[in-house]
């Protein structure tokens, strides 16, 4: 009886040792795959351009940032040229990155250069409120909205 239960004890010990070995291997694998699954890809330098695009129809003029979506990877450098071919002034702000162009008067351009260090979704919008007297933006100011996605 005594011997038998001792045998069970050693059996439990062996099982525990095996469990430890398996756990250790899994943990070691996890640690290495975590490093290699985020490969040492070289950050890209992206030269992009954006304009204020106007769309008309049904007596309604729509203003949008073109393009409306930008997708980059964390660590990439973005060189964004922003142009305004519209008849009124606009100003682009990239929220979250605290970047804004100068006031873009009709026909002018500006450039934003930044490293996409933070991942997530960041809105860009016009920050010149609609003011017809000053020639600032348009009635559809609130929908001049686009998104930068920075993937991890």
């Amino acid at each position: 009886m005594e011997r038998r239960s001792n045998g069970i004890g050693y059996f439990a010990l062996v099982v525990a040792a095996v469990a430890l070995a398996v756990g250790g291997v899994a943990y070691a694998r996890r640690a290495t795959t975590a490093v290699t699954s985020n490969p040492a890809r070289s950050p890209a330098m992206l030269k992009l351009s954006m304009v204020v695009a106007t769309f008309s129809g049904q007596g309604m003029a729509a203003h949008r940032w073109y393009p409306t979506m930008l997708v980059v990877r964390q660590g990439d450098t973005v060189d964004l040229a922003v142009g305004n071919p519209d008849k009124v002034s606009h100003q682009l702000e990239l929220t979250g990155y605290n970047l804004r162009t100068k006031v873009l008067t009709p026909g002018s351009t500006d450039r934003l250069r930044f490293v996409a260090e933070r991942s997530g979704v960041f809105a860009y919008r016009c920050i010149l409120p609609y003011d017809p007297a000053a020639g600032h933006c348009t009635p559809d100011h609130d929908v001049m909205l686009g998104y930068l996605i920075v993937t991890e």
Binding site: S5, A17, Y27, A53, F55, R64, G120, V121
Partner: protein, 156 residues
């Protein structure tokens, strides 16, 4: 004899606990680097018949023609019909659709949904071309855009 038995049991117990701890570490490891949280995105999807990027006056297009979201993001999609024809939009695979939108200033509708399935999804007009009722246009089949829901690295 009893003493050595409890020593063996103690070692076994200790090793088991270490193994369990390692297992939990592996399971919970992804939580160590928290992904960027899900976001709510307000898109305005314009159906337009002409414009600076519209090409020939009788072609129809969506602006934008490409939408990107991460899995878990909430999309509020305002569809605005600026063309002279009746259109209605559906996002195939997400089972969301607007009612018929007649052209003009107030013909918009908001579709709200969570991008919970990764993949590439088509959005298109689901009203067939019917000149008698000014429904859609001859280029109906080319009125398509894509929603790309990316997986991994982003919101989960």
């Amino acid at each position: 004899m009893n003493g050595s038995k409890s020593v063996v049991a103690g070692i076994a117990l200790t090793l088991s606990l270490v193994a369990i701890a390692l297992g939990l570490l592996v399971i919970l490891a992804p939580a160590a680097s928290p992904p960027a949280p899900p976001a709510a995105m307000d898109f305005s999807l314009l159906i337009t018949g002409e414009g600076s990027i519209g090409g020939p006056a009788l072609s129809h297009l969506y602006h934008p023609q490409l939408l990107v979201a991460r899995r878990g993001d909430t999309i509020r999609l305002r569809v605005i019909n600026q063309s002279f024809y009746r259109h209605a939009i559906e996002v195939v695979g997400y089972d969301v659709r607007t009612g018929p939108l007649t052209g003009g200033e107030h013909s918009s509708e908001v579709l709200t949904f969570v991008a919970d399935t990764p993949g590439i999804f088509t959005y298109r007009c689901y009203l067939p071309y019917d000149p008698a009722t000014a429904t859609c246009a001859p280029d109906h089949d080319r009125m398509v855009g894509h929603l790309v829901v990316i997986d991994g690295g982003g919101a989960r």
